[in-house]
């Protein structure tokens, strides 16, 4: 465990002076910008409407896309100028290094979601929405987004470790994210598509009449799919990284 913490600290040291914090702000900023503009429901119902609007952008695009960018980012230093061999020449196990990288990506995602929460509150206050924030709904949504991003983070990290180019893994991520527009409309494919999970987990439960496509799946169903995907992709990535020639 202490090895894990020490490597984690070293990883943060590498990220500290980078521009990555700027990337964390982009998603929440744009989803707030796009989601906060037209609100039509009366009174306290607006909190729910605002969440639906903002979660749509964040879950459908920003979470899957930025997960890919973060994963590529934590591998960038190692791909440059033989960083992998320097890192792995230290008395650390490859599996620990891999876990640390994954945890760093997830921590960045959590940070992004926390800022999303802040942006949500800010937009709500600025638009003068009356009443209290529906905390249970909002926290389920924000937390669900983090969980939904885990399988994507695992897969993107596996690809980023293997692919030296920064653009390569990212293009894979974007190419698999664009179909989201179509996939979430499908009851059959939607629940099984990893890139749609953040969206499905983040969207608040809608009234029967408003729900479409794969929305309003029961939370246990989503969680099972997410857990299955996460286990599969983490196992694949770990196995690959532990046997990879550096």
């Amino acid at each position: 465990m202490s090895a894990f913490l020490r490597i984690r600290r070293a990883e943060w040291q590498k990220l500290r002076k980078s521009t990555i914090w700027l990337l964390i702000l982009v998603g929440p900023f744009f989803s707030a910008l796009m989601g906060g503009l037209d609100l039509s429901l009366p009174g306290e119902e607006r909190w729910g409407e605002l969440l639906t609007n903002m979660a749509a952008g964040q879950g459908l695009f920003f979470l899957p896309l930025f997960t890919g960018i973060f994963a590529a980012f934590v591998c960038r230093f190692e791909h440059l100028d033989g960083g992998w061999k320097q890192l792995l020449a230290l008395p650390v196990s490859r599996a620990t290094v891999y876990w640390v990288k994954l945890v760093i990506v997830l921590e960045l995602i959590v940070a992004m979601q926390v800022i999303f929460l802040g942006a949500y509150w800010l937009v709500g206050e600025l638009r003068g929405i009356p009443g209290d924030i529906p905390w249970k709904m909002v926290l389920t949504s924000v937390g669900g987004g983090v969980l939904g991003a885990i399988p994507i983070a695992a897969l993107q990290l596996a690809v980023s470790v293997g692919w030296t180019s920064f653009a390569g893994p990212l293009s894979l991520g974007v190419m698999l994210t664009i179909p989201n527009i179509l996939v979430v409309n499908s009851v059959k494919i939607g629940p099984w598509y990893p890139w749609a999970q953040p969206f499905l987990a983040m969207m608040p439960r809608l009234k029967e009449a408003d729900a479409f496509g794969a929305l309003n799946l029961s939370l246990p169903t989503i969680l099972v799919v997410i857990a299955g995907g996460a286990v599969l992709f983490i196992a694949a990535g770990l196995t690959y990284f532990c046997r990879k020639e550096i």
Partner: protein, 261 residues
């Protein structure tokens, strides 16, 4: 006296030497860039883009053929073409960022800029050659998209007599209309060694593109969608090309003065 002659000789020789060199430079650099492309992901990506767009449209039609067939009764071809361009212009925006980043990133990663610039070539030619190569690769993608959409429509049973003019407009116009985006991405990829910067801007551009239908016309990521207030796709093409030339010139001036290592 002899010194003056020597300097005169050099003065006489240099302009002539320069013209012979510059005649071959751009072409030579271009073919050397083509050579560097071998065994990289650039060409597969240029093929994969249009293939993915056509495959996704096919999937969309395959999943709900009856519904869409009824919905677009009587205007199957134009519906297919407008459905395709909404995906293809996003793929094009993405492809621009990716290819630009790949081409420039490889030079950064292998410290090849200083090697190339140590040769007797002008910096402007070095910068232009890669840009031309990008345009060539993307034109190839557009051509594949043109053929692929035609093939898909035919296979879906819309008849093989497609409205070719409309299909050609929606397949080929987005590239010149997106020249501004391409110039921006290419400039960023070359200027910053850290490809995360260019790629983040590129990804952001794709997301802005997704929402661009409701955004004002001067947003450069909207131009390749060919939608504008004027109502002519040519407006987007002209605006995109002009802006592209301006951006390309600005970035090339930056490259000419840049310190490379």
């Amino acid at each position: 006296m002899s010194q003056t002659t020597a300097s005169q000789n050099t003065a006489n020789r240099t302009p002539a030497g320069r013209t012979t060199a510059s005649r071959g430079t751009l072409l030579g650099l271009f073919s050397s860039d083509c050579l560097k492309l071998k065994r990289t992901m650039a060409l597969p990506l240029a093929i994969l883009g249009p293939f993915g767009v056509v495959a996704l449209t096919a999937l969309n039609y395959g999943l709900r053929y009856d519904y869409l067939y009824k919905l677009y009764e009587g205007k199957h071809w134009s519906a297919l073409i407008s459905n395709t361009i909404f995906l293809s212009f996003l793929a094009l925006l993405l492809g621009m960022s990716l290819l630009a980043s790949q081409l420039a990133g490889r030079e950064h990663q292998t410290h090849a800029w200083k090697q190339t610039l140590a040769l007797p070539v002008s910096r402007l030619s070095v910068y232009t050659a890669k840009f031309l190569l990008l345009i060539l690769l993307l034109s190839f993608s557009c051509l594949l998209l043109f053929g692929g959409t035609w093939l898909l429509g035919g296979l879906l049973g819309f008849g093989w007599e497609a409205p070719l003019a409309q299909l050609a407009i929606k397949s080929f116009y987005p590239l010149p209309a997106g020249l501004a985006c391409l110039a921006l991405q290419y400039g960023l990829s070359v200027a910053f060694r850290n490809q995360a910067i260019a790629m983040s801007v590129g990804v952001l551009g794709v997301v802005i593109g997704m929402y661009s239908i409701s955004l004002p016309d001067f947003i450069i990521w909207k131009l390749p969608l060919l939608e504008n207030n004027a109502g002519y796709p040519e407006w987007s093409v002209v605006a995109g090309t002009l802006l592209g030339v301006v951006l390309f010139t600005a970035w090339s001036l930056h490259f000419v003065r840049k310190d490379v290592n």
